[in-house]
Amino acid sequence: MAKVLMKGNEAIAEAAIRAGCLNYFAYPITPQSEVAEYLCWRMPEVNGVFLQGESEVAVAYMIFGAAAAGARVFTTSSSPGISLMSEGISYLAGAQCPAVFVNIMRGGPGLGGILPSQADYLQATKGIGHGDCRMLVMAPATVQEAAEMVMKAFPLAEKYRNPVMILGDGLIGQMMEPVEFPDDLKSEPTNKDEWATNGMDHRKSKTRNLVRSLFLDPVVLNNNNLVLKEKYEKMKDEILFESYNTEKDYRILIVSYGTMSRVCRTAVDMLADEGIHVGLIRPQTLFPFPEEAICKAVTSSGCKLVLSIEMSMGQMLEDVQRSVLGACPVEWYGKCGGEVPTPEEIIDLIKARMASL
C-alpha cells in the first residue's frame, strides 16, 4: 500500500484493523478521540464491532469478556481513562487474557490538561493494576512506529497471555505523518485454545478453560503469581531500543523516549554540528526496560553524566538510575504541563552541564 498522511490516532486505529482486531470498545477522551471517530465508520466496513461503553470501567470489562472468548480486542484512552480501566487490566493479567491498551497521555494528576505529557510512565511500567500485575509497554516516537507497535502488540499479548500497552503522548496522537501499512496482516490468535472459553468440541484437550483471577487457596495463588513472574521475566526477550550518536566519544548520555526523544535527537544533531557529541538512547520498550544497553553505554564510554529527559517530573529517571548502578550521576530534565521542551532548551541545558563537568 502507498504512503498515506494520517494522524497518529487514525494510524493506530487502522493498524489494529490490519492486525486482524475487529473488536474495539472505548469511551471518548481528548487527545485520542480520533481513534473512535475513525473506527465508528471503519469497523462496520470490515464487519467489526465498535461499541462505546458507558464508562472506562465498563470498557475494561467488555475487553475482558472479548479476550476471554478468544477474540482480538483493544481500546484506546488517555490518562484519567486508563486509571479507571486499571482494575480491569489487573483482572486480565490475573486471568492471563490478552488485550491491547493504548494510552495517549495528557497531563495530570487529576483532570490535569489535554496537552501532551509522559506523566503516566510509572503507572504504565510499575503500577498499572493492583496485585502482582505488570504489562509489556511500548512507546512510539513516530506515527509509523505507532502503527507498527500496535500491529506487533496483538501477537505479543497472545504470546504472553497478558495485556500489552502502547504508551504515546498527545502529540503522537495528534500529529500527521506519512504511514505505510502492510497489505494484509490479518490473523487470528493461534494459541487461543489455551485460555479461550470457545467451546470444547474442536479441542483435542478435554480440560475446561476457566477464566478467573480468584484463587482463595494461598498456595494456588502463589503458584499462579509465580507463573506470571516467569512471564514478566521472559518479556525481556522483547526489549527494544535505539542508540543514536553513541559511536562517538561523548561525556553526556541522554535517555529519552517518545516525542521527547525526537526533540533530543534534533538537539544532538545541532550540537554535533558544533563539534559537541552527546549520545542518545531511546527505549522503545519501557517495560521491560533496556537497562543493560544503558549501563553499557555509560561504562564503555567516557560518559560523566546521564540525563533522563521526559515530559514528566522525573519518572523514567528511577529506571535510568537503576540501570546505571551508580556508575555516574543521573539527572532529570523536563516539563509536564503540556509544553514540549524545544531542541534549543536541551542544547542550553547540555552546554551548561558540559561546562561544569
Binding site: 498522511l5 487527545p31 496537552l115 500529529m175 505523518e177 531542541p343
Partner: protein
C-alpha cells in the same frame, strides 16, 4: 534541508486543511513531512494554527520554535507570530483582513487579498486555497502541478467545489507573480 511553515488564522478559515494539503503535496514529491496542529481547549472563532515541516531527512523535533515561513490569515496571527519567523522566510499576509505589515525588513512579504479574490470567484471559503497557492508559487516548496493534484484529491468527495478551488489556485498563483 528543512523548511517549516506555520499556517495561522481564525478557526473556520480552513487553516488546518491547507496545512494538510501542503504536507500531502510534499509527501507526494518524496519529502519527509510532519503536520503538527495546535490542539487545546479551542472555541469557534478562536485562533487555529498548525505547522508543516518538510525535510529531505527524517524529521526530528516536531516542535518548531522559529518556523521559516508564515501564512497569516488574520491580524492576531500576524501580530502573534511575525516575530518568530526566521530571516529570509516568506510571510504571507491576507490583506483583506490585515491592514498592517509584518514590521520586519529581513523577511519577504507576500501580500494577497485572499478574501477579495475568493469572493470574486463566488465563494469566500476558497480564500485559504488562494493563499496556499500564492505561498507555494512564491516559495516553490512543491510544484504547483503537485499542488493542483492534491487539491483535487482533497475535494474528491465534493466534486461540486473542485472547479471553484481550481480557479482559486490559478488566481492565487497569479497573485504571487
Amino acid at each position: 534541508m528543512q523548511s517549516e511553515v506555520m499556517f495561522a488564522g481564525f478557526g473556520g478559515q480552513g487553516i488546518l486543511l491547507i496545512g494538510k494539503i501542503l504536507a500531502y503535496a510534499a509527501m507526494e514529491e518524496g519529502f519527509e513531512v510532519a503536520w503538527i496542529p495546535s490542539y487545546g481547549p479551542e472555541m469557534r472563532g478562536g485562533t487555529a494554527y498548525c505547522t508543516v515541516v518538510i525535510s529531505d531527512r527524517p524529521i526530528g523535533s516536531p516542535i518548531i520554535k522559529n518556523p521559516l515561513h508564515l501564512v497569516a490569515m488574520n491580524r492576531p496571527s500576524l501580530e502573534k507570530f511575525s516575530n518568530i519567523v526566521r530571516p529570509d522566510g516568506v510571510v504571507l499576509i491576507n490583506t483583506s483582513l490585515i491592514p498592517i505589515g509584518s514590521g520586519r525588513n529581513d523577511v519577504s512579504e507576500l501580500k494577497v487579498p485572499a478574501v477579495e479574490i475568493a469572493t470574486e470567484l463566488g465563494n469566500v471559503k476558497a480564500a485559504n486555497i488562494v493563499a496556499l497557492a500564492a505561498f507555494v508559487a512564491r516559495t516553490g516548496l512543491v510544484s504547483t502541478e503537485t499542488l493542483k493534484k492534491c487539491v483535487k484529491q482533497e475535494f474528491a468527495k465534493k466534486p461540486k467545489v473542485i472547479d471553484l478551488n481550481m480557479k482559486a489556485l490559478e488566481e492565487g498563483i497569479r497573485a504571487a507573480s
